[in-house]
């Protein structure tokens, strides 16, 4: 085990890449749950984002359109969840699970319909990397951040934007009020349900962007179930990060770092014992549990998280 394998520029760069989709899902979770709606359909939103992004990139050859379509698809899925959760006051978890199953079935059905045995075309328009010019030339720093994908930067910027939105703007204040005490918000004339609709919709857009990152930035193609549970990891990151964007960033980075380590340490040995690759793969998960148990501890969700708002219910 060398220092380079543990904190080398390669590992840190990989950390950023691996954290990005989880971060985007977690940001979606933060926005939705801050408004009081549990959205475990994030995984499904990511998946439709990944798929429809590829379809649009294939049909339009435009990255911008591809991203728009990807996010639109995530938005639609989220909107369905919003109707169930907000309007119909359905069980939010069942609705989310159903939409996850739907997304998996639908994307893989359509993938086969559209691309059959051949897979997605090879010349897809992809989201480009951003070269930071002179910064890229700086040793180490340049190796870490010099050539990251545009969506990585977008995700990091979104952390700042959403953190500022939630805690430094009036609409953010209202959104938090709706998630903590919807009736109080209602009594001062804040429209509870529309606020929640927007928040859930936004969560779908964000998660779908995470999915599009996987298909359009990382893989340049779509494969069934390619999100691999990142939506759920994102949920965990959201909780770990105490329902704040900055916290979600820390959690996602930690998780990404664990995953990056599990690759860079392959073949390394502790003393004379070579660690089995399969056990190395547990690193990010174990690390997350340890971090939460060791440093983070109790975190409390928004008080009205997951509770449908009954306008004529009792306070």
């Amino acid at each position: 085990m060398t220092l380079d394998q543990v904190i080398g520029a390669g590992v840190l760069a990989a950390t950023l890449r691996l954290a990005t989709p989880i971060l985007l899902a977690a940001l979606g979770g933060v926005v939705s749950e801050r408004s009081g709606v549990v959205n475990i359909a994030l995984e499904g939103c990511m998946l439709v984002g990944a798929f429809f992004g590829v379809v649009a990139a294939d049909r339009t050859h435009s990255v911008v359109l591809a991203l728009a379509v990807a996010m639109g698809a995530g938005g639609i899925l989220a909107a369905i969840h919003a109707v169930a959760a907000i309007h119909l006051r359905s069980d939010q978890i069942v609705s989310g699970m159903a939409l996850n199953i739907l997304a998996l079935g639908l994307t893989s059905y359509l993938d086969y319909q559209f691309y059959g045995n051949t897979g997605t075309p090879a010349d897809l328009a992809g989201v480009p990397d951003v070269s930071l010019g002179p910064i890229a030339a700086i040793p180490f720093v340049g190796d870490v951040i010099g050539n990251q994908n545009a969506i990585v930067w977008v995700a990091l910027a979104l952390v700042v934007v959403i953190q500022a939105f939630l805690f430094r703007t009036v609409p953010g204040l209202r959104l938090r009020a709706v998630g903590e005490h919807p009736r109080a918000a209602d009594t001062v004339g804040i429209a509870v349900r529309p606020t929640r609709y927007w928040a859930v919709l936004a969560s779908g857009l964000l998660a779908a962007l995470g999915g599009a990152y996987l298909s359009l930035s990382v893989a340049h193609s779509f494969t069934d179930g390619m999100t691999g549970g990142r939506g759920f990891i994102g949920l965990a990151a959201m909780i770990f990060g105490r329902w704040t964007p900055a916290g979600a960033l820390v959690a996602s980075l930690l998780f990404g770092y664990g995953t990056a380590l599990s690759f860079s340490l392959q073949g390394a040995s502790i003393g004379s014992v070579q660690v089995p690759v399969q056990l190395l793969s547990t690193l990010p998960y174990v690390l997350t549990i340890l971090a939460v148990a060791g440093f983070v501890g109790r975190s409390r969700p928004p008080a009205a998280d997951g509770l449908p708002y009954e306008t004529e219910g009792h306070a």
């Binding site: 990989a14 893989s108 993938d111 045995n117 897979g119 069934d224 995953t259 392959q266 073949g267 399969q278």
Partner: protein
């Protein structure tokens, strides 16, 4: 796809009762970018060329194998094909119940509840010698690396498996065996994404390998391996595909593919039922009968590399070379 694209359309079914072939995938499903997909290609080919009536069931869970095979057997299918070694025991169970139905298992033989395999009179065991395919692409890669062709300048060759299971490791073992034979000084690195689906994981392993100067990356990881190829494409190095011909996945990056003709196995076995030449017991698909091989070559592959591969192919056929099945470098 790796199947020959036959052009004979309009072959109408034989006037008698149509032969029925049922294909049961393993849990990887039809879109696995790997052998289920290849098997399905073979099925569709057989339907088209041979006028068979075919159907496919995708298994969602391991416990579905028995009922899924049974479903076809009960409906008096002539041939039921189980795709994947995971179905060895299921195939044994169902085949012993339906002695009048013919079965075939890709990558396996019927195995009883104890795990002991036994040949059954109505089951064809379709085996592939993946190490031979691995060896052939290893020859191409090592030759290019040795001669510093194109971007292959570091004489470092890598591979990535999905998970370390025998069919995967056979490919890699053959690959490494060839490299060691051609250039003992070459650096060999192997890794695993521990996943057959996740592209990002595959890509990260690839980027990690490239940072260690790998310039030829051989993927044996299904969908996850597409990420490995994506890494090669992004960093401008070479990749080698697996199972089916993946040259079109990333033209200019993928220099060739280690091919396992699952489609051929399905097609040939279907045909054998129609022709009444069905052979129970072990059927090997190897270099000898074009069951494995290497795929189309990119233009960057020099003639001497192709020549070396063809020579190796001949030696394998003649038995002069027997590629290893154990990894040289873990």
């Amino acid at each position: 796809g790796g199947g020959g694209t036959g052009g004979t359309a309009g072959t109408s079914p034989s006037p008698g009762k149509a032969i029925k072939v049922g294909l049961v995938t393993d849990v990887g499903g039809l879109n696995d970018k790997s052998f289920n997909q290849a098997a399905n290609t073979g099925r569709l080919q057989a339907e088209k060329d041979l006028g068979l009536q075919t159907q496919v069931i995708e298994s969602k869970k391991q416990e579905d194998y028995v009922p899924n095979l049974t479903t076809f057997a009960q409906q008096n299918y002539d041939l039921v094909i189980a795709v994947g070694f995971l179905m060895q025991n299921a195939a044994w169970k169902v085949a012993t119940q339906f002695p009048n139905v013919k079965f075939a298992i890709i990558d396996g033989a019927p195995a009883n509840d104890k795990g002991d395999t036994a040949n059954l009179p109505n089951v064809a065991n379709l085996f592939f010698k993946e190490q031979e395919a691995g060896y052939l692409v290893g020859v191409i890669a090592a030759t290019m690396a040795k001669n510093k062709v194109g971007k292959a300048t570091h004489n470092t060759l890598c591979s990535m498996g999905g998970i370390p299971i025998p069919p995967v490791d056979h490919y890699i073992a053959g690959y490494q065996d060839a490299i060691k034979t051609i250039d003992p000084s070459a650096t060999i690195i192997n890794g695993y994404s521990n996943d057959f689906v996740d592209q990002q994981k595959g890509k990260e392993v690839g980027l990690n390998h490239i940072s260690k100067n790998c310039d030829i990356l051989f993927q044996v990881a299904g969908g996850s391996g597409l990420g490995y190829i994506a890494a090669a494409k992004e960093k401008g190095v070479y990749a080698i595909g697996v199972d089916v011909d993946q040259i079109d996945v990333a033209p200019g990056t993928v220099i060739t593919s280690a091919i396992k003709r699952v489609d051929k196995a399905v097609y040939d076995t279907s045909k054998s039922v129609k022709d009444n030449s069905f052979k129970a017991g072990d059927n090997f698909f190897s270099a000898t009968n074009d069951g494995v091989g290497y795929g189309k070559l990119d233009s960057v592959v020099p003639a001497d590399a192709k020549a070396a591969a063809d020579k190796a192919l001949a030696d394998i056929k003649s038995g002069a070379i027997k590629p290893k099945t154990d990894l040289t470098v873990k």
